[in-house]
Symmetry: C2
Subunit: 336 residues, 2 copies
């Protein structure tokens, strides 16, 4: 195939010629700035764009920023406030590093993670962030594609195929339960994901063991408001009700607060609650939630920096969590 | 440039040849299914992928599903639970219609809406959904690109350039305030966006006027938890405190509930609250929020269907809202 036989691509200069303006004015119209353009002139330029079928910059952009500057992201469920905030932080960090972020939601009923990665790779990306749990095989396949990839918010360390980052869920959970036992509560329950995937249950057990306390009740619940509500109803109805609960996410804790309120239980007077994630909404429940905060902005910045630097060495980078003390644990000295 | 001078593209057959398996087995490995592959074989295939630098399907996928099957989406702030849920519903609807959704967050500090649209168009999309408010000029520029485009969740009707859809914000707000005046509250305040962009303030005024009541206090606040908290503090401290408040979003209402709780005010006994959006979290506050629900799933399905059908006629499609009655308004007959 020869270049001459293809229809010549319509350029900005063609639009300028047809509408009788400079190419700069065409740019101002199509980018809606930086300089203003008179309505009459704008109409003329847009008419020329329509007549010629001009697609502004599409090819040039795809070429100049397409591959290197775009980071693809796969996120497990962006309705979860933690993931929504992580996504937003990654977007902001991308901008600071001159990158842009292209997001797909991962829905495992539809496509395997590997298929989604293929789809993103086909769209000219220079890096990939996966906020979802991949099997070892999936990691191996993704690693073979040669696209700089980073797993974020993984429960477990790297499997040796891809670099990963996230908080130390086990240590963070221990921090939460240490705080509860520090209040003198001797019967502390856990509400969260199944043991196989959730290190937070181990951290809860570590803290109780270290404090010489028996293991409390462990309730496995979906990571959702509804999951927390159902777990909270079961706990409230239990004659051997625990004095305190560690919830593996803020969303679960919001559900617990609703269930305890419905059952006429006061938080923290009857049941104390500490949760995990440090999302914005944890500050707006009443009582406000004491929560183990993940350093969302810091992780997002490190993730984008790492992809920008092309550092693809496997291994797990751990970020410290911080206990944000509010009222739900029983501390009364906090402002909110 | 001549085709012969380019390096030949590595194919799946090359990978199969080098690893000594069929092309079907190569597919099973790279797609992680549908059939299982022995570990030893998998390793051999992945090694061949690495050695040859094979990029599975990238070109074929870009060609076969790139343009027609992908819908680009620009969303103003995916941290807002309403937008997060709308996004998720659009993603699910895309799947049902054999499409996929590619999302960018719109951050106006960084890029104009028009620049973001250009960036998405450069990535081979066959349709565009914009969940943000565009100026008339922006709409005109986007319309000139010839990409099927739909504005969702607009406050105002179409400007004649692009098709738009959303609920009737004014009628929905009136529904909320009618319910509050139906409870006998005569002093109903409004908390929400500025009048110029938010039709809900008009709906609030319509209802009060129709009920023969004076206009209550109107507080303009950002659409956030913090915005609701600040507005709620101002209302709680006001000696002429209103008996009821209509909040323009569930997020604002969550902030109001926190402020009222901090001030020792009971909802609904001292101040009744009705909000807008019908997000999941509105069911998990205590008291649970009575809210004007937007038909998120229905709108998402209609949006994707419309883009899939290529129906690009300008005009505004209105969806009805539904009042979901819980406890915050003063109704006690609800389950939650």
């Amino acid at each position: 195939m020869d270049e001459q036989h293809r229809p010549r691509k319509v350029t900005r200069a063609d639009v300028a010629r047809l509408s009788g303006v400079s190419t700069a004015v065409v740019s101002y119209v199509l980018n809606d700035g930086p300089k203003p353009v008179a309505t009459v002139t704008r109409e003329r330029v847009l008419e020329a764009v329509r007549v010629l079928g001009y697609r502004p910059n599409a090819a040039a952009r795809a070429l100049s920023r397409g591959t290197a500057d775009t980071i693809g992201m796969i996120v497990v469920d962006s309705r979860n406030p933690f993931f929504a905030q992580l996504l937003h932080a990654l977007d902001r960090a991308s901008v600071r590093h001159g990158r842009s972020l292209l997001i797909v939601n991962s829905d495992r009923e539809r496509q395997s993670a590997v298929e989604q990665v293929h789809d993103l790779v086909a769209r000219q990306i220079g890096g990939l962030i996966i906020a979802d749990v991949l099997t070892e095989t999936e990691q191996e396949v993704v690693a073979s594609l040669g696209i700089p990839t980073l797993l974020v918010n993984q429960y477990t360390g790297a499997n040796g195929f891809l670099p990963a980052m996230g908080v130390d869920f086990r240590a963070g959970a221990k921090q939460a339960v240490d705080h509860l036992t520090g209040h003198g509560y001797r019967d502390v329950a856990f509400v969260g994901g199944a043991l196989a995937i959730d290190q937070r249950e181990r951290g809860w057990a570590d803290a109780l063991r270290e404090a010489g306390l028996p293991l409390g009740q462990s309730v496995h619940a979906p990571f959702s408001y509804e999951g927390g509500l159902a777990a909270g109803r079961a706990i409230a109805a239990d004659p051997a009700r625990p004095r305190a609960v560690f919830a593996a996410s803020d969303q679960i804790a919001v559900g617990l607060l609703a269930a305890f309120s419905d059952a006429g239980l006061r938080v923290p007077e009857d049941v104390a609650v500490v949760s995990f994630d440090g999302t914005t909404e944890a500050a707006y429940t009443r009582p406000a939630l004491t929560t183990v905060a993940q350093p969302i902005a810091e992780m997002a910045d490190a993730a984008i920096r790492r992809l920008a630097d092309g550092d693809g060495a496997p291994g797990f980078t751990t970020f410290p969590t911080e206990l944000v003390v509010r009222r739900s644990c029983g501390c009364e000295h906090s402002a909110s």
